[in-house]
């Protein structure tokens, strides 16, 4: 099966002692270690790699590298593998894509017969009407979706991330990049060299003996200089301050690793990409770029054809002739474009070139047409650095214009020259980059506190004194006198571009989006300049006048796995977590916390709290320790109510608003001693309230004596709730718990179950007599277990979040962020008595004054009466619990009046209860509301007199 494998070539990268077996298109095949999948397939005398995505035309190798638009294959369960780049491994099953039922015979190739109907915008124009039929169209069209097959049963893969801070990153390991990296490292910089391919040396790898010797020497020098080298890796994006995304495909353990590098200077040495030529039949298998033929012959020892026509416009094309001859390919004709020669068409079957028509109209029999018509400068990273490359017709490509100080360009992107000149330019660039890295480091340091002493002069940004590279003349060769494919990935031809231009899509950005040219997997690397050239011709302008699209990240695609990678988001658990797990708690993720939702039956948990006693782990509750003489001032500023007179031993409830008057958080704060307060916040608000308080202290009142310590995880928090909670707790503490000694809304420090420095307070989120314990976290599990043991005869049971939610709803307590939203100003909550407008200042004060009709300004401004009102509701039909966020509408229309913000079935009241936001017109007690259910049915609810459905006078929690 190795029919096209040549005898050993001097520069081959395959290891013939390591044969590999695989299957291609269902048949057994062999290759060698070092082969790409494509080179192994080509060595087996297979010309057709896959079919094209729209017309399903058979396609062969075009570039034989990462960018090959025709060589996407399915490898086992992995679709869209770039076979020109991916290395062959033993035992893989490789199949072609876009083929049905087979590679050789494809039904959908009929698309090309009706190709004129698949002109740009065909789908938009044809299937838009009638809209009713779209679902039917969609089903049929989905069958034609291009690409491989996704296997939903695929195993998980490991992806990783890395962060690094080198002085210099070099994108591209060709001669210029290697020389630059070496020079920068020799100048003392830490250097990361990123090479897209599997080998260093760039085009030298498939060049002459001398080329390879130079590459080897440069590689050795770079390695000796201590350059870190990432092979098979790509700099995918450059962002602000040289923040670089690098995808490393060669990591030994991770499928892909995303390397995030902060480079002080970036050297772009991405080389040049050979450009295809547009003519009739330019996608027939057997039409190949010169660089592809040289890769196949010199690196993989594969004979690309038997009889070739070579169209050459440059030295690389000339060298290909020698390579072909050495490989035993007969040369039918060498057409020199510099002397006016041209190629206008290929002819043959769909699957192979049989003859080539030259510019003079004569034909040559050939199965291979090699084109060497010029280069595209892949200036993506320069675009991302703010550069707008400029087209030079004499050189027939785009050249960089201006880059920032910390981005330097070298190699083929920068210009032309002999190899010596290129290497020298690389060296000078590396030295300049190292020097500028020092200046960048110095500038950054000088901007911050660790500034250099004034006597230490800041190194200046070194001027660019490099000898610039020249520009070799090159003929402009984009389209022949005939039409052909421009974008192989997207099956867009030059005729399509011309007709789209005539339709009015005559700016390059519009043309691109309308025809999808340059939007396929090659992302413009092969087709952008040809697209622009065809457009320029159609508009009768020059390429420079038409301009080009801006290349954006990523330079090369990376998988979603690489982007998701390893996630550094912690999961948090309380000190009682192991007990919850052992006792059958159903976990729920609340923010970062894993918490028990219930222990089997939340309804029974509610009943047990109402009748006996229950305990809940509320450790995630936000807790801030406040100390200092000016704490009351801070509390007055953050909360809407008054705090100056809060005595030692008391706790108070308060709500916090942002400066726009919207409710931000709520909670209780207790004064534990003369100079110490404990503030609790909502579980999710712990971080933001701390930052909010620090903001006021640091920016507005730096003179205040307040010190804040977040202690959320320093304490395990347990709420002991139920009529028997006092009896239970009295067995574990000496602190007197009777109403006279420890009243509702009071706080006591003390010892619980032998644990000192606990804080207890009497509050009532559940509506029952309850004590909230804050226990030093190391003893949390001990106290929890002591409560469970001591309470056995009292009927103690743990309860979870769900039971707590039911009980708080029975009591009508709102939850910030659930019953309030980003527009809910404090008066909506019905807590007007807690908004003290006679305080001198507090966050959001003016907004609340206006909302309550007491603000500064005219009467119209002062109208606050149309704020929604939070009310308690009960459903008429207790068997219906409307989902939270159900809309409240007018009885006979769908006009939205408000919404149900919380809803539950109450086991205590045997009723379906809820909280709702409604307009003031619908807020009075007894109002009937119409609730729209998700299935379209309507049900009714009645506004209640009090927020609390249960025990509105609070007798139980004061008992």
């Amino acid at each position: 099966m190795t029919m096209r494998r040549l005898p050993q070539q001097p520069g081959e990268v395959i290891d013939r002692s390591q044969p590999l077996k695989f299957t291609w298109n269902g048949k057994p095949a062999v290759g060698y270690q070092g082969d790409t999948i494509a080179s192994a397939i080509a060595a087996g005398d297979n010309r057709i790699m896959s079919r094209s995505m729209k017309y399903h035309r058979p396609r062969g190798l075009l570039t034989a590298d990462f960018w090959d638009p025709n060589a996407f294959v399915q490898v086992d369960d992995e679709p869209n593998v770039r076979s020109g780049h991916r290395l062959l491994t033993n035992g893989i099953d490789v199949g072609p894509q876009n083929v049905w039922p087979s590679l050789d015979y494809d039904v959908k190739a009929a698309n090309q017969l009706v190709g004129r109907f698949l002109s740009p915008g065909f789908y938009y124009k044809t299937f838009i009407h009638p809209q009713k039929l779209w679902p039917a169209y969609e089903k049929v069209l989905a069958q034609f979706a291009p690409g491989g097959t996704v296997d939903y049963e695929s195993e998980m893969a490991y992806f990783d991330k890395r962060y690094t801070h080198p002085d210099v990153v070099v994108a591209g390991g060709g001669p210029a990049g290697l020389a630059a990296a070496t020079a920068a490292a020799e100048a003392g910089a830490s250097v990361l060299l990123v090479e897209h391919e599997h080998h260093l040396g760039g085009h030298l790898r498939y060049g002459t003996e001398d080329d390879r010797a130079l590459a080897n020497g440069l590689e050795l020098a770079a390695r000796s200089a201590g350059v870190e080298i990432l092979l098979d890796s790509t700099v995918t994006g450059r962002y602000e301050d040289n923040w670089l995304g690098i995808v490393q495909r060669s990591h030994p353990l991770a499928s892909e690793r995303l390397v995030k590098a902060r480079a002080k200077t970036l050297i772009v040495a991405a080389g040049l990409i050979e450009r295809p030529y547009v003519f009739e039949g330019n996608d027939r298998p057997g039409v190949m770029l010169a660089s592809a033929a040289r890769r196949l012959i010199n690196m993989y020892s594969v004979k690309p054809g038997d009889r070739a026509v070579v169209l050459t416009a440059n030295e690389s094309g000339d060298q290909t002739v020698a390579d072909l001859e050495r490989a035993g390919v007969k040369i039918a004709e060498v057409v020199d474009a510099r002397a006016g020669g041209n190629v206008t068409a290929t002819a043959g079957s769909q699957k192979a070139v049989e003859s080539v028509t030259l510019g003079d109209g004569s034909t040559r029999d050939a199965d291979l047409l090699i084109t060497a018509v010029g280069w595209t400068a892949p200036t993506s990273l320069l675009n991302m650095s703010g550069d707008r490359p400029v087209y030079d017709p004499a050189g027939a490509r785009f050249f960089p214009d201006r880059t920032p100080d910390n981005v330097l360009v070298t190699g083929g992107i920068a210009g032309d020259g002999t190899l010596d000149q290129i290497v020298e330019h690389g060296r000078e660039t590396g030295a300049l980059a190292a020097s500028r890295a020092l200046a960048v480091a110095h500038r950054l340091q000088a901007l911050t506190a660790r500034a250099m002493p004034v006597s230490d002069p800041e190194p200046a940004m070194a001027p660019d004194a490099r000898t610039p590279l020249g520009r070799d003349p090159h003929p402009e060769l984009y389209r022949s006198t005939t039409h052909g494919i421009v974008d192989y990935s997207e099956d867009v031809g030059s005729k399509d571009l011309v007709s789209a231009t005539k339709e009015g899509y005559d700016s390059v950005e519009l043309l691109k989006r309308y025809t999808t040219a340059t939007m396929g997997p090659a992302q413009g690397k092969l087709e952008t300049v040809n697209t622009v050239a065809v457009l320029a011709e159609a508009r009768g302008e020059t390429i420079a006048e038409v301009g080009t699209t801006i290349w954006r990240p990523p330079y090369a695609p990376l998988t979603l796995g690489a982007l998701a990678g390893r996630i550094f988001e912690p999961e948090r658990v309380s000190s009682v977590h192991s007990w919850h797990v052992a006792n059958g708690a159903k976990p729920i993720l609340a923010g970062q916390w894993i918490r028990p939702e219930h222990y089997g039956n939340p309804q029974a948990e509610v009943t047990n709290v109402r009748e006996n006693v229950g305990i809940i782990d509320i450790s995630p509750l936000g807790k801030l320790d406040l100390q200092g003489a000016d704490v009351p001032k801070l509390l007055n500023l953050l909360y809407t109510n008054k705090w100056s007179k809060l005595g030692v031993g008391s706790v108070r409830y308060g709500i916090m608003c942002a400066e726009d008057g919207v409710v931000m958080d709520d909670g209780v704060t207790g004064r534990i001693s003369e100079n110490r307060w404990l503030m609790t916040t909502t579980s999710s608000g712990a971080g933001s309230v701390w930052e909010w308080a620090e903001n006021w202290l640091q920016t507005a009142h730096p003179d205040w004596d307040v010190h804040i310590t977040p202690v959320t995880t320093s304490y395990t928090s347990i709420n002991v709730a139920g009529p028997k909670s006092r009896e239970l707790l009295s067995r574990l503490t000496d602190v007197p718990l009777d109403n006279d000694s420890f009243d509702y809304m009071q706080v006591r420090p003390g010892t619980v179950a032998g644990v000192e420095d606990c804080i207890m307070w009497r509050i009532g989120f559940t509506g029952e007599l309850s004590f909230e314990l804050h226990v030093p976290a190391g003893y949390g599990l001990h106290v929890w277990e002591a409560l469970m043991d001591e309470g056995a005869d009292l009927g103690i049971k743990p309860f979870g979040l769900e039971a707590q939610r039911i009980m708080r709803l029975e009591k009508g307590h709102f939850i910030v962020g659930q019953d309030t939203d980003g527009l809910t100003k404090a008066p909506t909550t019905g807590l007007q008595p807690l908004i003290k407008l006679d305080k001198d200042d507090f966050a959001g004060k003016p907004e609340l004054a206006w909302a309550m009709g007491q603000g500064v300004g005219d009467a119209a401004d002062a109208a606050g009466m149309d704020l929604p009102v939070l009310v308690s509701v009960q459903m008429t039909d207790s068997s219906i619990v409307p989902p939270e966020a159900s809309q409240i509408v007018r009885p006979n229309t769908n006009e939205i009046l408000g919404r149900i913000t919380s809803s539950r079935y109450s086991p205590t009241l045997k009723a379906s209860i809820g909280l709702a936001q409604v307009p003031p017109s619908h807020a009075s007690s007894g109002t009937q509301l119409t609730v729209l259910l998700t299935n379209g049915d309507r049900t009714t609810a009645t506004v209640q007199q009090h927020h609390a459905h249960f025990d509105p006078d609070g007798l139980r929690l004061r008992s």
Binding site: L447, P620, L621, D660, S688, W692, T699, F765, Q818
Partner: protein
């Protein structure tokens, strides 16, 4: 991603900090008109020039500081030194923990 010059931690990734926006004077809450308060809350000039911004070094020193940044070039200048007072009683910012914060129903658990 920007490198932000924190006066205590040195140059840090933007994601380590929180930008609170342009620092603007807070009007007197007892005399401000609706227009003045609305301007303080919502209206910024957004010039293509340097503006004084408040940053919060949330993953580092947890200090607020003000620094000038050019909104077109992203260049920083005049960061404070450690110990410098941040703004003064006429400067604050309102965006931390304000109404923009979204929370899931499971997260807003209060007690």
């Amino acid at each position: 991603m920007l490198l932000v010059p924190c006066p205590h931690c040195g140059p840090r990734n933007q994601s380590d900090l929180r930008l609170l926006g342009e620092a603007v004077p807070r009007p007197n809450p007892n005399t401000a008109t609706r227009a003045e308060w609305g301007e303080y809350l919502y209206l910024r000039d957004n010039p293509a020039d340097y503006v004084t911004e408040t940053w919060y070094c949330r993953a580092g020193c947890r200090r607020y500081f003000t620094v000038e940044r050019h909104q077109a070039t992203n260049e920083f200048r005049n960061p404070p030194l450690p110990g410098d007072k941040v703004g003064n009683s006429t400067y604050t910012t309102i965006t931390v923990g304000s109404s923009g914060k979204q929370r899931g129903a499971n997260e807003g658990e209060a007690s």
